[in-house]
Amino acid sequence: MWSYILKRIVQSVGVILGVTLITFLALHMGGDPTYLYVSERASAEEIAATRATLGFDRPLHVQYLSFLGGLVRGDLGNSLSYRTPALQVVLERFPATLELTLFAMLIAILFSIPLGVVSSLKRGTPVDGSIMMVAMFGQSIPSFWLGIMLILFVGLGLGWLPISGHVPILAPLFQGDLATAWANFPRAVPYLVMPAVSISLFSLSRNARLVRSSMLEVLSQDYVRTARAKGIPPYGVVVRHALRNAWMPVVTMLGLEFGFLLSGVVVVETIFSWPGVGRLVFNAINQRDIPLVQAAVILFSLLFVGLNLLVDLLYARLDPRVRLG
């Protein structure tokens, strides 16, 4: 077990290094961003001085090695637009993104499992067909379009939910202010609903289809037939025997799910004015704030890799046949 974890951590370091390299090269392919941070009327000397201050006058490999050195020390440089440590700027926005992602995951899980189970139990009926048709639409609708439609009809037309904005829950919680976090919770939920639905619909639909196919496979197994033959009520057969075994592919998917939802927040946070990392990255790319984009990408990569490792470990716990090593 421990040797497996160690091996995975070493692999993860390789993955993160690869991510840093690709991100670094992609960001520098656009050229030197110095011009965006000097006045239009700056002289050639002033431009050169700013370039040197920002470190963009050095050869690319030197810049990359310097970046890696900083990464080891936890110093990802200063944001070019905010003039403060890039990691700090990203971490300030992270609680808002985490709230949105967790809420979206909750919606995806809460709705996909019952829908997938019902669909599998009603296989071939209009109920099954309807659920799968809706799921297909859910996978086809772009999140930005859905977000704008929700704003238009639910926020503006019906006036049921706030159109944009955010009330923090996790930020005060991380600062140890439980009372504020709890007090904010009921006010925060209405703000969460539309953006979370926008980014979760794809996952919800995909997971519903996954649960359905997994359930169909399990329901045809001998032990399910045996359970039925023993007179176990249908509910017990489905929940205790079938669903438990149909979980495995869903759990695997959940690990990737978080990363997928994180990628979705870039557009959705912008549409709903959600003050999270996604919107920050969107602006940082537009402003060519290289340290800020790198800090955000590294944070997301660490999360993604860490969660996948966690899922693999969980996999072994859920299924005793799986042996790690």
Binding site: G30, G31, D32, P33, Y35, L36, Y37, V38, S39, E40, R41, A42, S43, E46, I47, T50, T53, S81, Y82, R83, T84, E92, R93, I148, I151, L152, G155, L156, G159, W160, L161, P162, I163, S164, G165, H166, F185, P186, R187, V189, P190, Y191, T270, I271, F272, S273, P275, G276, R279, L280, F282, N283, N286, Q287, R288
Partner: protein, 520 residues
């Protein structure tokens, strides 16, 4: 905690979810982006500056009509040799921490911004101080501060109206990092809170002597998506929205909750002709545009009013040069849309249509998404030019990563679309884009000797009348030997709530100190 305890507040919250409309003492403004910093010396972007304009006072102020009037300073004098501007402060001014605002604070404001150790690149050190040739600032007495420049500068007063005056003691006590998030102002509103990427809240300074504002609280929200801003305006949650998209005008105007007010902005949108020899050598079109007759002919080929009406959603008058009205040359008429004239002039210039109908070919580079409908405007211009036999290929580009380096190195072209910020308070301010042949902002590398000799004549001019005559002559030179294919002054669209009585300015500044609740 049982389920009911959890659900009840949630249901209550949902039922009041849409009730976010501001009360009568609060004004909410939505901008496209959030502020990036609140260090007065580091502020450089318009979103930050709009908020900062309410936090800090400036020595002088520019009115919406472009007049320079006293503000924190009650008067100023220019030294005999023109290199020193001495400002006399009003008595009784204070900063928001209670410290008295004196000449020493004014001198400190300039010295702090210019200090290379601070590494500031904001508007004050990066633009104002470099433009005026700043040398030093000093306090002559309690209320008199002097700014020293390396040479006389006619537009220095207007430029200095952009410098946010702040108090020495509080800023000396703060680190740069603390100063970027804890503004201690000297203007009509004080800082309350900044939730990054969400909102900035300001509170009225009750005893501020220079402005009588109506609203107790100002909330500046950052809402990047245009349709979301419009929805918030229609829902009544926001009072003023900047950057309304032309396609959303009807929805807002028909809502009954708000109206869209278009203003002719001060940003000059033009197509530059690049005169670098590399372009002349690289293509027949690059060589053709070196000739004045060709550049004049191309002016007649483009129907600018139609571009405004169809692509920008408003009517506009074509520019006659690089100076914003009403400071432009009143004797010049915009080039009319006359494709026959364009063809005739090109024939006369020795560029007849070939067998394939093409006279010569050009590439028009353009940013995509930087200015209002920029790429589509470039495509329209390209089509107009193609219609008269100038085969034009339009290349829309990402602004930040590709276009800015090309422009700043003067490598965009041979045709390139650009927008350049201007002002209303002085013709000279707009003209300084072309202050010298080597100016960084002379993106076309235009070398007209008559134009650049004009600057020397201006330096010798005695009195405003003579100066105005020279300016008009220079603008005529620009008109007759155009380095730009002149288009329009970019219209700006503001969405304004029906509950509000407020007029937007032309210069992209959002000043809501004069806003009030509508009387009916």
């Amino acid at each position: 905690m049982n389920t009911r305890t959890l659900l009840l507040p949630l249901l209550c919250a949902l039922s009041v979810a849409a009730a976010q409309a501001p009360d009568d003492t609060t004004l909410v403004v939505a901008q496209t982006t959030d502020a990036t910093t609140f260090d007065p010396a580091e502020i450089g972007d318009r979103a930050s500056a709009n908020i900062a304009d309410h936090l800090w006072g400036t020595l002088l102020e520019i009115t919406p009509e472009g007049e320079i009037i006293p503000y924190l300073a009650e008067s100023y004098e220019v030294s005999d040799d023109g290199t020193e501007l001495s400002f006399t402060l009003r008595e009784g001014l204070t900063c928001h921490d209670g410290e008295a605002l004196t000449a020493e604070d004014v001198a400190y404001t300039f010295q702090r911004a210019a200090d290379p150790e601070n590494g500031f690149t904001g508007n004050t050190p990066g633009f104002v101080l470099t433009s005026i040739g700043y040398q030093d600032a000093r306090a002559d007495d309690e209320l008199t501060a002097t700014v020293v420049m390396n040479q006389p500068n006619a537009i220095a007063p207007g430029l200095l109206a952009e410098v946010y005056i702040h108090c020495k003691d509080s800023y000396e006590a703060m680190s740069l990092e603390a100063a970027s998030t804890n503004p201690i102002g000297s203007g009509p509103y004080r800082f309350v809170e900044w939730i990054r990427d969400d909102r900035v809240v300001l509170e009225k300074v009750e005893d501020f002597p220079l402005v009588e504002s109506t609203f107790q609280t100002l909330v500046w929200r950052a809402i990047p998506e245009a349709s979301t801003r419009s929805a918030e305006l229609i829902a009544g949650n926001v009072d003023v929205v900047a950057g309304v998209s032309p396609d959303q005008q009807d929805a807002i105007n028909n809502s009954g909750a708000a109206t869209v007010i278009p203003v002719s902005g001060t940003r000059r949108i033009y197509v530059g002709f690049n005169f670098k020899p590399e372009f002349a050598e690289a293509s027949d079109g690059g060589a053709a545009i070196q000739e004045t007759a060709v550049r004049v002919a191309l002016q007649y080929a483009v129907d600018v009013p139609t571009i405004c009406e169809t692509l920008l959603g408003t009517q506009c008058e074509r520019a006659t040069g690089l100076v914003n009205p009403p400071n432009d040359n009143p004797n010049l008429e915009p080039y009319p849309y006359d494709p026959e004239m364009a063809e005739q002039l090109l024939d006369e210039a020795g560029y007849p249509r070939g067998d394939d109908g093409v006279r010569f070919s050009l590439t028009l580079q353009s940013p995509n998404g930087r200015y209002l409908n920029d790429a589509n405007v470039a495509l329209a211009v390209g089509q107009y030019l193609s219609d008269i036999g100038v085969e034009t290929t339009v290349e829309p580009m990402d602004f930040a990563s590709v276009y800015v380096p090309l422009i700043r190195e003067h490598d965009a072209g041979p045709l390139f679309l650009l927008g350049s910020g201007g002002g209303l308070w002085s013709a000279l301010y707009d003209m300084t884009d072309l202050a010298t042949p080597e100016s960084g902002t002379n993106y076309t590398e235009w070398q007209n000797p008559e134009w650049f000799a004009g600057w020397e004549r201006l330096a010798q001019a005695e009195g405003e009348a003579e100066q105005r005559t020279i300016i008009n002559e220079m603008l005529e030179v620009f008109y007759n030997d155009p380095p730009w294919l002149m288009l329009y002054f970019q219209p700006d669209f503001y969405g304004v709530s029906s509950r509000l009585d407020w007029e937007p300015r032309r210069d992209e500044h959002i000043d809501v100190t004069n806003a009030a609740l509508a009387s009916n």
